[in-house]
């Protein structure tokens, strides 16, 4: 569904991606793991059009989307759940969800999807008129996921969804992401929490300083001595 070939990307003098090649099959949950600064977030930003690629190919559902405008990529069916500042803090929960459906014109469908998300995350329903910035970290992440789903994406890009969350919430987060895959949506997951991501995924890539150094099934990467040493704490 998503094929990236020889992608080169950078900011100024820094080359963050030095020829990256990955494939994400339809309905799969693919994990991209690696250390800080390996280029994981840049990969996602390049896919969603926030960073223009210098060279290489990004094909989604057969179409080349490299360098396209973010809104076109979104329309093609790719939603991005960025790391860090995940929500619009001064907008209400309901408004944040509406932002996820910004490009959609079918009001009835949007309303139905919103109710589905409220049913999935009752905490969000309780706080629908509250400013998103007043939610806890875990609730904000749930809101970010809900917002991404509001666009009815075919592929969701998750950037460090567990970052800064309490351990019990992290667990819930991964089960939600697994459920999204089980519901038929393709997922590309970027994580520093390598073990959890590798356990959950169908296929995984290990990224080091802008290049893929290892790929395979999640269990295979967990068993790999290099991965054990460097990423899973021995």
């Amino acid at each position: 569904m998503l094929e990236i070939r020889d992608l080169v990307c950078g900011y100024g003098h820094v080359t963050a991606l030095k020829g990256l090649t990955i494939t994400v099959g339809e309905g799969q949950l693919v994990a991209l793991v690696g250390a800080n600064g390996a280029g994981k977030s840049t990969t996602l930003r390049a896919i969603s059009g926030l960073v223009p690629p210098r060279s290489g190919e990004i094909r989604f559902a057969g179409r080349d989307i490299a360098g396209a405008e973010p809104r076109r990529i979104l329309e093609a069916g790719i939603a991005h759940c960025p790391e860090g500042r995940r929500v619009f803090p001064q907008m209400t929960v309901a408004e944040n969800l509406a932002m996820g459906a910004y490009l959609r014109r079918d009001k009835a469908g949007v309303a139905a999807d919103r109710e589905r998300i409220y049913a999935e995350f009752p905490r969000l329903a309780e706080r629908r008129d509250q400013a998103a910035g007043t939610l806890s970290g875990g609730e904000q992440q749930m809101l970010a996921i809900g917002r991404a789903l509001m666009g009815r994406p075919k592929l969701v890009l998750f950037d460090e969804p567990s970052l800064g969350l309490a351990p019990n919430i992290v667990e819930r987060m991964f089960s939600v992401i697994g459920a999204i895959r089980d519901a038929g949506t393709t997922v590309l997951l970027v994580e520093q929490n390598a073990f959890a991501a590798l356990e959950l995924c169908d296929y995984a890539y290990l990224l080091e300083t802008g290049r893929i150094v290892l790929e395979g099934k999640g269990e295979a990467l967990i068993a790999d001595p290099h991965v054990r040493d460097a990423y899973l704490g021995g």
């Binding site: 973010p70 979104l74 500042r85 995940r86 509406a98 910004y102 910035g133 970052l163």
Partner: protein, 344 residues
């Protein structure tokens, strides 16, 4: 509070002339304050809801004033190459509409020119634009009379079918006209801010990269906001021209932009009531101070009041008071600062 305050204020402003007994000095101060408050509301649309500072906002106001005045006065100008532009006077209401359109068109140009880069560039482009327009008004004497001013600008004439026509020459009539236009602008902004377009504007200000990733077109959204803001400032300028009935290039003074920025920031940028509250306070403060102190002291007190407000209520009066009263401010008001961005 956030729901009742605007209605209470409106009721108070409607009743105010009855209490004042049509004191012309106070009515004049209220009218000019009201016109500037409309300007502040239009500035708030950009500064408060998109985060873009227009430091040449007075240009749109002045363009509105001149377009409206010239439409209703008529002109006969040599354009060079043997071409002449001759215009017969039209009613002031047409001038008001043309002022809105012309100022909006200038907002479009400025927006297209500067919103690809934004931030500081927008500030610089707007300042330069205001200065260029002021110099044109000063030097194109054949059209604008330059420093001699455009005089004898007709007052507004309102006509209702079957009820006849009124020429709004008295201060009381102008007061209600300004109040009506101001209320209309307030309602328009309130609708806009909570619409899909309003969410796009606020989203860009709160978290630009997230806003882009949900598909918002930043340049287009900001340009549309600039057009609406400029058009509203042009409408205020038109009110000003037909109320004072004389305008000169001093309507483009930088100081007036600063006054509007003070009104917005002190009142609370990014809130609906902020510019109204800030506008009334800083518009009427000089009037309140005049009888009790010397002119030099007035400006010192003016500055002190501003400093005290920003020290005690750094986000502005309206959000600050709402927080103190233990209630959340209006939905569009800042509630919490964003968590710090994680650097890439």
């Amino acid at each position: 509070m956030t729901r009742l305050l605007p209605l209470a204020l409106l009721a108070g402003l409607v009743a105010l002339p009855l209490a004042l007994g049509a004191n012309p000095y106070l009515l004049n101060a209220l009218i000019v304050t009201g016109i500037l408050t409309i300007g502040a509301m239009s500035l708030n649309l950009l500064l408060g809801f998109t985060g873009q500072l227009s430091l040449g906002h007075i240009a749109f106001f002045g363009i509105g004033a001149y377009v409206s005045a010239l439409t209703s006065l008529g002109f006969d100008v040599e354009l060079g190459f043997g071409l002449r532009a001759v215009h017969e006077p039209w009613p002031p209401v047409v001038g008001f509409l043309l002022a809105t359109v012309a100022a909006g068109a200038c907002g479009y140009l400025i927006g297209r020119l500067s919103f690809r880069v934004r931030g500081a560039y927008f500030v610089i482009v707007t300042i330069s634009f205001a200065e260029v327009v002021r110099l044109v008004a000063l030097n194109w004497v054949e059209l604008t009379q330059g420093p001699l001013a455009l005089t004898n600008i007709p007052a507004f004439t309102l006509g209702l079918p079957g009820l006849g026509f009124w020429t709004l020459k008295s201060k009381l009539q102008n007061y209600y006209l300004v109040l009506a236009v101001g209320t209309l602008c307030y309602l328009l902004i309130a609708r806009l801010v909570h619409s899909r377009f309003g969410r796009a504007m606020r989203g860009l200000k709160e978290n630009e990269s997230l806003a882009l990733s949900v598909g918002i077109n930043a340049t287009r959204t900001l340009t549309v906001a600039a057009v609406i803001s400029a058009a509203m400032a042009g409408a205020a300028g038109s009110l000003y021209a037909h109320y004072l009935r004389i305008i000169d290039p001093d309507v483009f003074l930088f100081a007036t932009t600063v006054t509007m920025v003070i009104m917005v920031v002190a009142g609370g940028k990014g809130t609906l009531m902020g510019p109204v509250v800030g506008g009334l306070i800083f518009g009427l403060l000089p009037v309140a101070l005049r009888p009790v102190m010397a002119p030099e002291a007035q400006w010192i007190v003016y500055g002190l009041v501003l400093i005290v407000i920003l020290f005690v209520l750094p986000r502005g009066i309206v959000p600050g008071m709402a927080a103190r009263l233990g209630r959340r401010p209006a939905r569009s008001a800042p509630v919490l600062e964003a968590s710090p961005a994680v650097p890439q």
